[in-house]
Assembly symmetry: C2
Homo-oligomer: 191 residues x 2
Amino acid sequence: MMRQKNQENLDLRQRKTRHSLVEALAALMEERSFQELSVSDICRRAMVHRTTFYAHFTDKQELLRYMLQQLERECISTCIPEDSGSPRQFFLTASRNALHFFRDRKALYRACLQSGADTEARLLEDAAARQLYLRLSQPDFRRALPDSDPEIAARFYVGAMFSLIRWWLSSDDPVPEERLLENLERFIPNI
Amino acid sequence: MMRQKNQENLDLRQRKTRHSLVEALAALMEERSFQELSVSDICRRAMVHRTTFYAHFTDKQELLRYMLQQLERECISTCIPEDSGSPRQFFLTASRNALHFFRDRKALYRACLQSGADTEARLLEDAAARQLYLRLSQPDFRRALPDSDPEIAARFYVGAMFSLIRWWLSSDDPVPEERLLENLERFIPNI
DNA sequence: CAAGATAAAATACAAATGTCGATTAAAAGC
DNA sequence: GCTTTTAATCGACATTTGTATTTTATCTTG
């Protein structure tokens, strides 16, 4: 029904409605939980006809997923350090960046958690694992740990880090950030 | 409205309807995805009036959560080893058990993943983290790593393990189980 | 086994969901 | 600019959701 050529060279009208819908959703999620929002609510706020909504997304969760994909790009570009030191330093720096990134978006994150946006949030974890995998595939790591699978190692450490972040963000009385990072340094092998 | 005394000494009628609903949901999830199922579908299959459904659960996800809580108990009791060796051995054995537990329930697990049952699945991760935390709080670990927080360590390693399991289960061409476990052993410190 | 308690069924209802076909408005391409 | 293409709007509809109220059936307790 809709073209959706190469992701971004959409019709002007389409980009506008999508943008409005994302803005409306983000605004409404500051007020009440995702689950409490109806498609009608979002459309009313976005000043978009409900039929138009369904021409773009099959349901609310798909809109949310779309929104989180944009967040994903932002997260990756701000968290991944460019100057690649050791794999260990790479991971620790990225972890610290990610911690800050989510700390600054705590409200949104918690809203996602309680809303079945979990599956969508996991896309981000996949992306992060891919990034670490790329770094771990480079020769210096392969030499340091010849028997380890870069893909498995990436999943392991990224999963651990995300789990820590989730726990930290959802805790009402979180441990100090520095303590978290100190612990983290102790868990990462020196390569 | 309903008594729901101590979890399990419910009215016979209540237990029966809950049981029917869980059975119906499990059966239907073999046929199509959770998202495609309506409350009406579940009730029709369970031969329970829709109004009765809403007397027990607020929506489908709550029924699913209820179902997964039962699974959780089963998982914990089968995966947690009784004879406590070192924390390392404890974790590795539990990991291996968990891997088998989920491998044998791959269909259900994948159904959950794709269905926004993610939030519910995370309850299991919380429970597992609690178990490891209990083990890590014991004196032998505290002595071995006096500067590490047992709670943080538990989150870290359980999160890593669950992430690996999720990845392994959702992969169409998964790495051999033994290779996964070999890698895992290399990532766990020798305490 | 009888009496009281309480869960399930039955019915009805307002709101939300998802889908159509037809019309109107606004872009893209020449 | 003008035409063609295509998205947005409008109105309507069948289905699902969630809730409230009343009646019926079943369990628990003494």
